[in-house]
Amino acid sequence: MTMAHVRADTHTWDELLAPDGTPRPAARALLDQLATLEHSELQERQTLAELDILTMGITFTVYSDGRGIDRAWPFDIIPRVIAASEWRGVEAGLKQRLRAINMFIDDLYHEQRIIADGVFPAELLEHSKNFRHECIGANPVHGVWAHISGSDLVRDADGTMYVLEDNLRVPSGVSYVLENRAISKRVFADLFARQSILPVDSYTDELNRMLVSIAPAGITNPTIAVLTPGIYNSAYFEHSFLAQRLGAVLVEGADMVVGDDECVYMRTIGGLERVHVIYRRIDDEFLDPEVFRPESTLGVPGLMRAWRAGNVAIANAPGAGVADDKVVYAWVPDIIRYYTGEEPLLANVLTYRCHYPDERTYVIDHIDQLVVKPANESGGYGLLIGDRATRSELDAHIALIEADPRNWVAQPILALSTVPTICDGEIEPRHVDLRPFILSGASSYVTAGGLTRVALRKGSLVVNSSQGGGSKDTWIVEAE
């Protein structure tokens, strides 16, 4: 079946179709193939893919009435396609961005030159919720703090790719990149044979290499553990998946103990065994009840002592989240220029910071034309899209902003690009974003593509799986 009719709205960018309804070059092979399929055949492939997901147990957990429910991972078989030539530019931009961000974090916990030089305002740091005084002076290997990050990219109507936010704490979703590909290879086996689609499977090898590269000095064959909050966490599937692919041990806080020698050990059936690298999937505040939340049972008492002593590497390093903040985001272009002397390769979205009275006034006056976001929430919670909100919702948010201005930023409403998507048997355009994953250790690496999230509700811009979003495979295609 053909897709041309899907290109109804020419005010947004479609990833597969040009405004005249013809395929974009990188998507031509895909659309030619889809054109040969009857409507019912396409639906059948979608159904088979959903069956695979169910039997493979690919799930995520949502909370409802206080209990976690395992849901099958929502996946749409029509992939998002990006030309490799464009992707190489995005990849370079992400590496540049993360190099600068890591230098920024390291600077904040040491001399704070960027503040002394008047580039970053001191008062922002004073009010930062994610600046950890416990991390001042710490020296993680290679000076890298954000080892694993996921930056969310969106494409506006003019075709420009923007970084929407940087997730530097415990970004999730990479396992679905790999699983989506496994399913997509079954669905479009013939297309994978006929054209060059960059593989994504090497991610876990690269992750392993990066984690080995940050091991404490003198340890060449480190024992790696993935620290999960446990089975009721929404990303538990991913924690388990990554541990499995890494050949690492999946641990919970209670599985570990810090010894008198300030080394970290895990409790095994043969006794205590040393752990050298922890890929943690819990937030800073839960890491160590001695230092952070005393009531937390998810972490390990003494973990921060062991980390500061250099006896264990923690990825991401405690305190890395200081740069994962929608306020700091607004300064990233300046941060890149300051530390690298280069111009940013990837665009930042214009961001109004309610911390500043003039910008706050602008936001309040134009709130119906802006996306308003809390600085420190993830998962789309607290987000307000001005032109879709009622007057009372707008007023409620204005009150929130005035109560705690530093915690709010606002951005123009971007017209997120679309990809044709199967919705109730019909093919319709749906908005997408893209989360590539960036690894930073001795060297850096960017996934070939990333997780394309799609807002399955018509017209919706909210792509989070916890709020009715789905996903697609992302193909980086080499031109013929």
Binding site: L54, T55, M56, G57, T223, I231, Y236, S240, F241, A243, Q244, A248, V249, L250, V251, E252, A254, D255, M266, R267, T268, I269, G270, G271, L272, E273
Partner: protein, 324 residues
């Protein structure tokens, strides 16, 4: 290297799955037996409750409060054993518990093994009610047993023979031994007791005894293997000896004990764990040598079960508790 917490989950995952499979075999063979026998010969389903053990006492007590429900019929008993989510020993609860345990071991067990567990969970979730009705019961139980065997096949053919595998085998063998002793302790003891009663009061031996013994052997999938091994007509005492001691039959208690010994030998702290398996084998030998009448057989099986429970405690102490 195996985390204590994960060891515990593997062990219990294996136990719960074995419990589900064994319960399915028992319910299936009992159903066949009832269908085989004339209605006068076997009017009660209650022996099934006795085999299922502790949790069923509560069920029976509740049923007895309402005389209108007595005697407890086929459907409530089978529902209790197959599809009752409030019965922790039911097939559906066992499968739920197995999956819940194995969910935390996904990075350890082969991927196909997890998929099979997940398939089984989905299947039981949507079909358990069909396992209660007599016309669909055999299909449901047969499918469930088949999935369990597939899982066992995956574990046997693709899993590394490491500590995780030994914990799995340990859980499976302890549960299997326990279920076999229950079948012997309840049903074989009852059959032996009935036979003695007939001999004592001069009445003829129940002509359906051999059918009952066949049903009993079938409930641990032992009938064909018993016949191959003994090449003679079915004799109650020989059947009991076969189920307890035969080293060639993999579901006999002695075979399970051998596998428990092997597993403990390959796991850490074997010097601490071995004495208890020596003790199990000693108790088992005593049980098989005595047990001339039903009551003493029943008591002897309780001794064996107590030893299996002691092994369970030692396993917990050695692998889970000691590193805490």
């Amino acid at each position: 290297m195996l985390l204590s917490r994960v060891a515990d989950s593997l062990y219990w995952g294996a136990r719960y799955l074995e419990r589900a499979e064994d319960t399915a075999r028992i319910v299936r063979s009992y159903t066949e037996l009832v269908i085989d026998l004339p209605t006068s010969a076997l009017s009660t389903w209650e022996p099934l409750l006795a085999v299922a053990g502790g949790s069923s006492a509560v069920f029976r007590a509740q049923a007895e409060q309402d005389e209108a429900l007595l005697p407890i019929g086929e459907v409530p008993i089978v529902r209790h054993l197959v599809a009752d989510q409030h019965n922790p020993g039911s097939i559906c609860s066992s499968v739920d518990a197995a999956r819940e345990n194995l969910r935390t071991t996904r990075e350890i067990i082969p991927r196909e093994a997890w998929q099979t567990v997940n398939d089984l969970y989905l299947y039981v979730g949507s079909n358990a009610a069909g396992g209660v009705e007599r016309r669909s019961r055999a299909r449901f139980l047969g499918h469930l047993i088949g999935e369990c065997q597939q899982l066992d096949g995956v574990m046997t053919t693709v899993m590394n023979r490491d500590e995780a595998y030994e914990l799995w085998r340990l859980g499976q063998s302890i549960e299997r031994a326990d279920m076999t002793t229950r079948v012997v302790g309840v049903r074989a003891a009852a059959l032996l007791g009935a036979g003695q009663q007939h001999a004592a009061d001069g009445s003829i031996t129940d002509i359906h005894d051999d059918v009952q013994w066949m049903g009993l052997l079938r409930s641990v999938s032992a009938l064909q293997m018993y016949q191959r091994a003994t090449r003679g007509p079915i004799d109650g005492r020989a059947a009991v000896r076969f189920l307890l001691l035969d080293p060639t039959f993999p579901r006999s208690v002695a075979s399970c004990a051998t596998r428990i010994r092997e597993a403990l030998g390959r796991l850490p702290r074997s010097r601490r764990t071995m004495p208890v398996i020596d003790e199990l084998e000693r108790v088992l030998a005593v049980a098989a040598a005595g047990g001339e009448d039903g009551a003493s057989l029943d008591a002897a099986m309780e001794d064996v079960q107590a030893m299996l429970s002691a092994i369970n405690d030692v396993v917990h102490e050695a692998f889970v508790h000691s590193s805490m």
